[in-house]
């Protein structure tokens, strides 16, 4: 399958990206806020919590990560709670992919690795590609790459495009999530353009943030990206996923995201293959709310393991 579209020069890309309708900031914020007032109760809430669990990319991206921590996280990823689904994937640094592969063998949980000199992306292309190839060779099924924000912001769209297509090629069978790092893109117009650029270059997913920069996955940013995948599908036929990451900690945040997915991109995206939530502490809150809904009582955070 060739996912890249035949526009590659910076000039051509500029024509396409700057021809997209603008985003009115006030309107986008108002719409996102309005969707945040939806009230999700009872059966809908129970189903939404389980869906959200299955969409979590359970993440640990710290300098202090250890094989032991990754193993613990993998156990949690598979055995979330009795009757609850497994998470979507475990997301780790490249050097810990092997540990995750071993721990998750046969579980069906994806192994995502950040690559391309995450989080800054400041490395020569050869290094980024080597980073990617090694993670894939070690067993990563999903690669989370970062774009070169410097190149994007200076308008060198061709360079960003080429880098994404090269990484996509290096991914082979692994799914490619392209991190836009929206906190550095300054405007919603840029978020929309970067989304399209990544999709045109063959991204399987577009992802908001590394989690290392604030603001990260704000509701209006997710809104604009969901509009982008919807519009891209309408125009090119290819369905691209969305992954908000960074600052999503509560069940309420997750439910608001699902409402956005449902009403902006459409119900088709309510699927872990097309929507993921990058988070670390979110899972425990989802599990706590799940138990509260089932039993009617809060057991408290001490009853949920910190992995």
């Amino acid at each position: 399958m060739t996912d890249a579209v035949a526009v590659t020069s910076t000039r051509e890309l500029r024509g396409v990206l700057h021809g997209l309708p603008g985003v009115d900031e006030v309107g986008a914020k108002a719409r996102a806020a309005r969707l945040g007032t939806r009230s999700i109760k009872n059966d809908t809430k129970a189903a939404a919590i389980d869906l959200a669990i299955s969409m979590v990319d359970l993440t640990t991206l710290e300098g202090a990560d250890t094989p032991g921590k990754v193993r613990a996280l993998c156990v949690k990823a598979v055995r979330t709670a009795p009757g609850a689904p497994t998470v979507g994937a475990v997301c780790v640094y490249p050097d810990l992919v092997k540990v995750a592969v071993e721990a998750l063998a046969g579980s069906g949980v994806g192994i995502a690795s950040v690559a391309t000199a995450f989080p800054a992306g400041r490395a020569p292309l050869e290094v980024k590609l080597a980073d990617t190839r090694r993670a894939v060779a070690d067993g990563a099924t999903e690669i989370d790459m970062v774009i070169d924000r410097g190149a994007f912001l200076t308008g060198d769209y061709g360079r960003v495009f080429d880098e994404i297509t090269a990484v996509k090629e290096a991914c082979g069978e692994a799914h490619l999530k392209v991190i836009l790092e929206t906190g550095e893109l300054a405007t919603y117009d840029n978020v929309r353009r970067a989304s399209w650029l990544a999709m045109l270059a063959g991204a399987d997913f577009i992802k908001t943030s590394t989690g290392k920069i604030q603001p990260a996955a704000t509701p209006p940013v997710v809104l604009v990206m969901l509009q982008a995948v919807r519009d891209f599908q309408a125009e090119h036929g290819r369905v691209v996923g969305v992954k908000p990451a960074g600052g999503i900690r509560t069940t309420k945040d997750a439910l608001k995201l699902l409402v956005q997915v449902n009403e902006v991109a459409g119900p088709r995206w309510l699927d872990p293959r097309l929507f993921r939530i990058g988070a670390s502490s979110l899972l425990n809150d989802l599990l706590m709310q799940r138990e509260k809904l089932a039993t009617g009582v809060y057991s408290g955070p001490d009853y949920f393991t910190l992995d």
């Binding site: 985003v23 309107g27 108002a30 719409r31 939806r38 109760k41 809908t44 869906l51 009403e263 119900p267």
Partner: protein, 476 residues
């Protein structure tokens, strides 16, 4: 899929509202029973909420007399800073009781709780706060400091408490006393407001509320003891009032109908324009005098915009107004539903093509699915007459000149919207639009500091902001 059958019901509790079986008239600080009563119903269920007193000539006389006495003895002579204290107190009580008032408004009107909670009530309180601030600063407003006297005010059913605030807050701030008649289908929040006046210990007679239908309104506006008439409602009734008041010394301000044009240029932020179009016509079931009921879209983006609009309309939640997820509630009355149906039928007959998203409407109550008409000619009734319902007529244009010409080609002139990323175009087009309010890249935004009112047959006089003081001051 988890949301296939919509979101689980999330009804707002009605336990905060203490509905009484019957309500009297609020005259001279107390509630008095009328000789006759009429029922007010919940338009979402057709159940009777309460019986309300019908004010006849005697009751209107008594209310106007009470207002006169209060004006001459208490409220007129009171320093502005003292009047302000009462208005601030009223504003605070409204905030404290806002949940109760929002639920009551939704029950009586049929509009969604999301709107009464997030739009109506915050604006009502803000309006009282705003005019409370003016009460001791009238000398800086430029219209003198002398009140007009007794104001007779007649308000519509689409924003019952908000229209009350628009009328009463500036009148009281300027030192006038009022007799207000709410619409016959939505009297309950006005009567709750009467209780708030008691709670705030507002001097007796400063605010009087008389309930009834058109005849009560006629008795009030034609009453010789009334110095100033303010009316919001249909152009037809506005014309009758202007006729009745001609040759008298009474002052009159009218806020009437509209057929607002929402103009979308090809360089508009399309996703936000779609939101704006939805907010312009489906907000409050389209029962909005300044609704953007005509969508004028540049032909090069018409197809794309309409595809997005239809997809967006499919996500509108229509149904129980008390459900926190409802976007479009019940039509206010059987009469209004009949009028919407009649106009929509005329649109179909004249050749326009209607489209509505699939939505199951409740069996009881008054409901109309959100509707878009395409293939609309400028001469179709759906493009010319105010439908006052969730019905949008779409027309296309090629050049900015054509857009302005089409937008202005209506006897009304209340509102318009412009959608474009080009600032210079916003200014150039806004200047040529004959409309009292022009929104740019937004629609149906209200603020107590911003004046509101119409051109041509949409009425005269301004409400809101400094300009809103003019109608209630003698040198205005």
């Amino acid at each position: 899929m988890i949301f296939d059958t919509g979101y689980a019901p999330a009804p707002e509790s009605t336990s905060v509202v203490d509905l009484r079986a019957s309500y009297g008239l609020f005259i001279d600080g107390g509630f008095v029973t009328g000789k006759e009563t009429f029922p007010t119903i919940n338009p979402a269920t057709e159940e009777t909420l309460a019986e309300v007193a019908l004010a006849g000539a005697g009751e209107v006389d008594a209310a106007v007399a009470a207002a006169r006495t209060a004006y001459e003895n208490v409220w007129g002579p009171m320093p502005g800073a003292e009047r302000a204290k009462y208005l601030y107190r009223i504003a605070r009580i409204i905030q404290e009781r806002s949940r109760e008032l929002a639920v009551l408004e939704t029950l009586d009107n049929g509009k969604p709780i999301r709107e009464t909670r997030d739009v109506d009530l915050p604006l009502v309180a803000a309006h009282f706060f705003h005019y409370a601030g003016w009460a001791d600063k009238l000398e800086y407003a430029g219209y003198g400091t002398t009140p007009v006297g007794v104001a007779g005010q007649v308000i519509p059913w689409n924003f019952p408490l908000l229209m009350l605030a628009w009328k009463i807050a500036p009148a009281l701030a300027c030192g006038n006393t009022v007799v207000l008649k709410p619409a016959e289908t939505t009297p309950l929040t006005a009567l709750a407001f009467a209780e708030i006046c008691q709670q705030a210990e507002l001097p007796a007679g400063v605010v009087n509320i008389v309930t009834g239908a058109g005849e009560t309104g006629r008795l009030l506006v034609e009453h010789p003891g009334v110095d100033k008439v303010a009316f919001t409602g249909s152009t037809e009734v506005g014309r009758q009032i202007a006729h009745a008041l001609a040759g008298t010394s009474k002052r009159l301000s009218l806020e009437l109908g509209g057929k607002g044009a929402n103009i979308v240029f090809d360089d508009a932020p399309l996703d936000q324009a779609v939101e704006g179009v939805v907010n312009a016509i489906f907000f409050n079931q389209g029962h909005v005098c300044c609704a953007g009921s005509r969508l004028l879209v540049q032909e090069s983006v018409a197809e794309e915009l309409l595809a997005k609009l239809r997809a967006r309309m499919e996500t509108l939640v229509v149904g129980d107004p008390l459900d926190k997820n409802t976007d479009v509630g019940a039509v206010n009355s059987a009469a209004q539903l009949a009028r919407i149906r009649e106009l929509v039928a005329s649109g179909v007959e004249e050749g326009a093509e209607p489209w509505s998203p699939p939505c199951a409407l409740p069996e009881r109550g008054f409901w109309f699915a959100p509707t878009v008409f395409t293939c609309v000619a400028a001469s179709h009734r759906v493009a010319r007459e105010e439908i006052f319902g969730p019905v949008l007529s779409v027309l296309t244009f090629r050049t900015p000149e054509e857009a302005v010409e089409k937008a202005n080609n209506t006897p009304y002139g209340l509102s318009a919207g412009i959608w474009t990323e080009k600032g210079s175009r916003i200014l150039a087009v806004a200047e040529k639009l004959r409309a009292g309010v022009v929104w740019a890249n937004t629609f149906n935004q209200f603020d107590p500091a911003s004046p509101f009112g119409g051109f041509k047959e949409s009425g005269y006089g301004r409400e809101g902001g400094r300009h809103g003081l003019e109608a209630y001051l003698a040198q205005g």
